[in-house]
Symmetry: C2
Subunit: 699 residues, 2 copies
Amino acid sequence: MTKRNAPARTLAKQGADTIRASETNPPVASELAGSALDIRAMPAEGRVRAVIENIAPAVDDGRFPIKRTVGEEVVVEADCFTDGHDALICLLRWRHESESDWHETPMRSLPNDRWQASFRVESMGRYRYTVVAWVDAFLSWQRDFRRRVEEADIRIAALAGVELIEQAAARATGDDRAPLAAWAARLQREQSMAAIQACALDAEATMLALRHPDRQWQCVWPDEYVVWVDRELARFSAWYELFPRSAGDNGNHGTFDDVIERLPYIAGMGFDVLYLPPIHPVGRVRRKGRNNQLVAAPGDVGSPWAIGAEEGGHKAIHPQLGDLEAFRRLVAAARSHGIEIALDIAYQCAPDHPYVAEHPAWYRHRPDGSVQYAENPPKKYQDIYPFNFETDDWRNLWLELRDVLEYWLREGIRIFRVDNPHTKAFPFWEWAIDDVRRNYPDAIFLAEAFTRPKVMHRLAKLGFTQSYTYFAWRNTKQELTEYFTELALGPGREYFRPNVWPNTPDILTEHLQFGGRGAFIARIVLAATLAASYGIYGPAFELMEATPREPGSEEYLDSEKYQLRQWDLSRDDSLAELIARLNQARRANPALQSDRGLHFHPTDNDSLLCYSKTSADNVVLVLVNVDPYHAQSGWTELDLEVLGVEPERPFQMHELLSGARYLWQGSRNFVRLDPAGAPAHVFRLRRKVRSERDFDYFL
Amino acid sequence: MTKRNAPARTLAKQGADTIRASETNPPVASELAGSALDIRAMPAEGRVRAVIENIAPAVDDGRFPIKRTVGEEVVVEADCFTDGHDALICLLRWRHESESDWHETPMRSLPNDRWQASFRVESMGRYRYTVVAWVDAFLSWQRDFRRRVEEADIRIAALAGVELIEQAAARATGDDRAPLAAWAARLQREQSMAAIQACALDAEATMLALRHPDRQWQCVWPDEYVVWVDRELARFSAWYELFPRSAGDNGNHGTFDDVIERLPYIAGMGFDVLYLPPIHPVGRVRRKGRNNQLVAAPGDVGSPWAIGAEEGGHKAIHPQLGDLEAFRRLVAAARSHGIEIALDIAYQCAPDHPYVAEHPAWYRHRPDGSVQYAENPPKKYQDIYPFNFETDDWRNLWLELRDVLEYWLREGIRIFRVDNPHTKAFPFWEWAIDDVRRNYPDAIFLAEAFTRPKVMHRLAKLGFTQSYTYFAWRNTKQELTEYFTELALGPGREYFRPNVWPNTPDILTEHLQFGGRGAFIARIVLAATLAASYGIYGPAFELMEATPREPGSEEYLDSEKYQLRQWDLSRDDSLAELIARLNQARRANPALQSDRGLHFHPTDNDSLLCYSKTSADNVVLVLVNVDPYHAQSGWTELDLEVLGVEPERPFQMHELLSGARYLWQGSRNFVRLDPAGAPAHVFRLRRKVRSERDFDYFL
């Protein structure tokens, strides 16, 4: 048994939804009636009759923000009701953090006491929202008045209305007061039943009265929910990863200037983010050799994730890549191609990183006094020293890690791909990301956490803008359907933005090792159309590099992680052109720019995956043969309502990779997909608008 | 736009789960590093690496208590995890409100980072629970130690262990300190690999060390969740409603003493709650006549729900029923039969209730000065004045309504059936019920709210012990399956305790009007076995009264609500004996005493409903023909795993209403149920334990 805590939050929460900020402390009940009983204190205001429950969306009851991008809609719902049958008014309150006053949007009533309203987020940063409701005496009166049938009843009810309208007039300011007072007087004056009824229900006057409601007993939901609003790239992005040091020719160590020459190629494929593995000096102590050999040979370049050497650490640039000026040239050149540079943030050190000597307290030490390297027994990573987030000096460690980000932010970098964030303390990320965003609301963090689901979700909740996923290992129709249904429709949709990669320098899946060209095409079509954000590690991907270091391994043979590579970008079989068409289709179709609006349609073949994405009028239908070895054919069973087409009217399917057009009708249409040719179709659905005579009339 | 609120709770909540009570304010970050940046304040303690999420059960995120009865188990789960792969320890903290210290129960790890533990509630009143977790350095060390293979590695890890054990020794108090210190010394001394390994993993010493963990960075979930613990009757009860004024003979107004004579009959049927409609003086002003006629004839007794006349109001007794002494005799006599009296709490007044003159402020007034009667236009209830919960004098109104309860509580009444609670302000109920329970934790409130689902659930959340349901209108197999699945498995199961009634004085369903004896039997079997609490309005039910006031109405003809009735309890066709057997079965079978453990089994006939209830070893299987007009037969498709029987072994089905025994085997068994005879079977399942030779071996 341990001592109990100080009064807990639960106490404050219970009954809290009836308390408003303006209220003073209520008298204790027993003071009122002189009762001898020890009576529970009454609420400050007992006449708050409206109830609000179950506001959505809310992540962990509002502990974490939901995420949106500029221009998106936030649809908010709540259960609102009251005792008896009086009429309720419910408002959605919302504001950008820079605004001091609330906007209030009336909520409309849905079935089963659910209410709904929405607002559009127009600026980056934080919005807040909550719900207000009250029992409205005027609205209740008018609704009841409409139902009354007996004359005596109607006459007396009209007089009750006069009182309520006079009260509204008294609350009204400016121009509204006089017409309200006049309405009350008119209602009092009218004699005939018809005139009384017409006057009491006057539509224009009613609108006026509703502008001045009696909100003295309104219920304000005490929690405010936060929306984090990012720029559009947070929702819709195509990433390309390359090792700058492999961009040289003739076996030379590549430089930033070599990467600049590669930019037209990357932009030509339609990517908008160019992600570089760590660009810092690579450690020399216990440097790994080619293919991860324990001892490096002379001239071996080592892993760029073994960060830091005598030339510097996380704020320094590997001298062979270029200097800061070269880096700035690259950033600017990329921008001129519509490409942003993303840097790799790997909070770990090579043994010769300057931090190790300067801040020994930031590392764990073994009983023999040596610095504790990374390990997960029996595995050891002796070239990597992790930071000790339990150090007494944690505040300065946090500040320095934050300062690394600040350094590159000041160089204009806004996108960070964070290496293994799940091996650093969670509170650090929440603090650091929030802090960065206060100054740089356009900053984007991609979490590279290939780990357990709840850990990945926690990182997304804490502030990571996008997250790597299990996509690489979801290959069958059932696996893909289940996983992307969860991503698009599960509770994570409010905060977990998937960024899906068919390959990375660490991940060459069996599917790609054995599936050949058909697998590569199918996988990138899936990535680019199932998720609004995706990426590839190139040129390995477009050149279909498929040889593992050893059987059963997902590591590349001769991996660029440990050595330079030369790539022949002009190979005939390169997928670059297909990728360009794919990214073009993404840019032309809003449906592919959001993770929402995904719907899987049945087919009668377990190798044929069929799904649509819709965004308003824009409908894209994708068919993929997930079997890389055999041609597969079958019939679709389209949900026509989801596609917005009528069963009896034909519609045109415009295949965006080949340009071919097909005329389909109804739910069942035949498809054949051959991995040797085109293992996937990406259709834009065009509905017929005028007549059947000409395809040109399809929109 | 309106002014924004004072700082909202959301701000306090965000990051709150890493803050512990003992911490002081942290320095502002910029003080530490002299940074010019406006840096977000760091948490007080950044080394709290354990994460707790998603604690269940929790009603509306802990805003409301869950409910249990004495002796029940509270199973608590939470998601707990940390960064990296260190080992976690999670504890469930719980205590009764009368205890000042927490009990702590270790949670066990389930798949997917879920943890679970439970505690048993032994006393009425409130319990609280929450979760604590921390990253345990000792446990992590030992788990990693087990995996180490290289000798040098093991030797150095042993030394790291020595440090950790020494720290545990330093934390230890009393007898544990010396053996821990000895363990550390021994581990330091050992030389051989085998000895080091054995010593480091010593099981007994490990238990000792785990008793003194390093909890300096533990994460304490800041919310405490409340369990309201009732006595058993709150979970398991059989109610009988009768009008005392109809208990007389020869057409005389019945008295409490007449009811005393009726007690053996009621106890004989096995009911444990006798609920009386209001026992107070009935208003004379605008009194309703027989069959709800607007004008009463001389001698008409009026509706007992039109409470109050010159003889008194909610604390008075109708003089024709008896005096307070007679009431006390009834309460005592009932108790001696194992029956508790439940009173009706109807917070409304006849026009001649003394409150109307004494407290005019407690009512609304119409513009002509008259008191506003109850209405829902165009319907009027002119004999009833509702209280105005928006009165300026609401505090005194609340105190007086509370005092009505107190009056009857002091008379030993602990069960209140509350009439139309959904037409009174919700905050009143939360306050009043909580206040009553502080002094009378055995008090039980049944909410008679036949209204919209969310309103009914709100009342249950606010504190009502049991709730009337939609059972009366759920008649088909699909309706019953869906509704009771929701009640037993939906989120409401934590707070909404159904009390199901096949009839009430207000509800004579079409099903009973036309279904005849078969319908009455089927409906009471369903009520008594689907729900742990049920009730009937008698003798109308057991005498199968089925004539409505008019076609299409659910009102009884010559309803006891407005007149006296005489009942012939000795009729041959009375269901009293069947009801007695049913209540006997309920008392003998724990499975029928809880709403949990309900499972519906398919049958191949849409009129044959089949379900089981299980509680540990006790299994009851019920089969009901829900078609009151025709015999129905078909095959069960039992889920044998739920029933705990093996497919190849026969089991005995002991029919508890008839006493018959059947031998069944496997999932498919034939059933025929005839509404003209027995429209339902209530089987107790008896598994074979020794051999096939003798039925006596079934348990």
